[in-house]
Homo-oligomer: 377 residues x 2
Amino acid sequence: MKLTDLETPALILDRSRLERNIVRMRDHLSRLGVVLRPHVKTAKAIDVLRLALAAQPGGITVSTLKEAEYFFTHGVRDMLYAVGIAPNKIAHVAALRGRGADVTIILDNVVSAQMVAEQGGAMGVEFPVLIEIDCDGHRSGIKPGDAMLIDIGRILYGGRGTRLRGVMTHAGDSYNCKSVDEIRAMAERERAAVVRCALDLKRAGLPCSVVSVGSTPTATYAENLDGVTEVRAGVYMFFDLVMAGLEVCTIDDIALSVLATVIGHQQEKNWIITDAGWMALSRDRGTAKQKVDQGYGVVCDIDGWPLTDLIVAEANQEHGIIADRNGGALDLKRFPVGSQLRILPNHACATAAAHAAYHVVDGGAEITAVWPRFSGW
Amino acid sequence: MKLTDLETPALILDRSRLERNIVRMRDHLSRLGVVLRPHVKTAKAIDVLRLALAAQPGGITVSTLKEAEYFFTHGVRDMLYAVGIAPNKIAHVAALRGRGADVTIILDNVVSAQMVAEQGGAMGVEFPVLIEIDCDGHRSGIKPGDAMLIDIGRILYGGRGTRLRGVMTHAGDSYNCKSVDEIRAMAERERAAVVRCALDLKRAGLPCSVVSVGSTPTATYAENLDGVTEVRAGVYMFFDLVMAGLEVCTIDDIALSVLATVIGHQQEKNWIITDAGWMALSRDRGTAKQKVDQGYGVVCDIDGWPLTDLIVAEANQEHGIIADRNGGALDLKRFPVGSQLRILPNHACATAAAHAAYHVVDGGAEITAVWPRFSGW
């Protein structure tokens, strides 16, 4: 089967780029002496994870308990659920642990620590816990130096229902960096924040065997990870236009695209209309605040070669409007009704989430595999 | 089962609001003497459609062939596939027709008309076709007065593989109106455009039994639909913040919300952190260009009552950051870890698409039904 045989829109994954991206991150972190705990929130597919886990210890990061269920079913045991635990999810985590999944949870406040310790004690379950650290003011976590760290550490260490395993942080603000130098500095800030908290715990006589950091930008540009035991990253497998805008990858590294078919034109406006709208591309406009605004995505020919200055300028639910990024004239005859194009996404996590499968190609137009994926909770 | 028993995030549908919205639109269009062909692209669920089809002839509008397949399986026969047909979908439409689904397609150019006529002729299938009209410069369609209308009409009328049924348009630009008066004017412009094209076809000796318009804003504020045979609309069933911002509904009409759980706080920043991020709410920021920017959604208590000035100010994949819309101080003790909130969405179509089911309530906190829904192609 070839790309031209697919009903569109359809999600395309270039395996050679995927493998190259995975090897590059693995080699980089290996040089820095840390292991990778791949984040599965981007790919949500066992076939992708198998490639990402090659030559790694086998632990993964999940963003939902549905991911934990799915990957446990596919043989993964060691999982970090990297969203602050909510009371209504404790029973589910306990059930997973009861079936043999080694799920570690995270939290960043005394109330959650007490709740987990109490529920774990009552259920006879010992939940491994990392304390979440805020290294950049981006969202959750305890600031380095906040005495609450030790309070939480003592609750988790003393509780019958909890086992304190360490600390973790996520430099989400790295997505807003303006230069590679800023990302490098952010990587060091991420490392320093969590290593300092690990030291604070140890000085208070508390255990801290796990020191976990992660974001694709900081993982890519980290130069020193002393004191860190593992790195979490997910989007590095596919990359996307936001990552290219950050200089974390090049456009040629982006392994994910959406196949679209031309369904019409608006001659006067120099518009090409396709059947890939925001439902297929996602509403993510992450490049809007970057140096180059890529609209709803960069347009490539069916072989994946970018077409200079063509972007998806607007999107409706099932319609994409392709135009020159500067509003210039287009030779619409080059894009007749029925011709196919591939759109590189702003944000791989959001775009992939709309689709039920990856159509895998290996540079060419032949579909070599179809890899199922899932979404939701 | 109660809302508090759900693992979050979860999609909640208020049945009493849904029914009220459906009845209001039905009565309004009935007064104007036209039938409703509900657009299923928002709900994508047979349980919702059954309510929407009460006292209607039974025809629906679909935005994907997956919707056509699903609703045909559930007994719907009369379907308008309202996205310009692509060559790679013709065989699928033919297969649906072969199984008894009366699928009508649309197109807006000579190449597509010839292609459908030829393929239909070769397959021995007669495809019913509407010609798409551009009433507002929003995306696809032929401008009223363009001679191409008659060229296409003749191809469809003369082709063995096609049956010219009429014209259709969608006033998508109504989403950008700045006042109710503008929406009223847009509704008249939508009507006039398509009625004029119907007349042009008839004057040229071509048939035009269907004259179809549709968008929730114009359907809501249309005062005269003379010459129109049917109205298409979808989001009116649920409504959302974009529609409220357009004064097409009130906040109290919004039937859809996302249940979220508080997982932490950032005291200094007056942030409440929840487990409903953009994956659950969607990346849609449709209110950003309206008079009131609602962030990623308006926050309500678990009973659905809006909490003054609380919005989802930022969203990560599985984290929502709730803050006062003006950056004011919050009494975070009112929202302890584990407490639950409901978020009204910017755009119902995008938010619903992330979820596999509606948890139906009837004003209260009791879940009276779980209605499955689908996404994708």
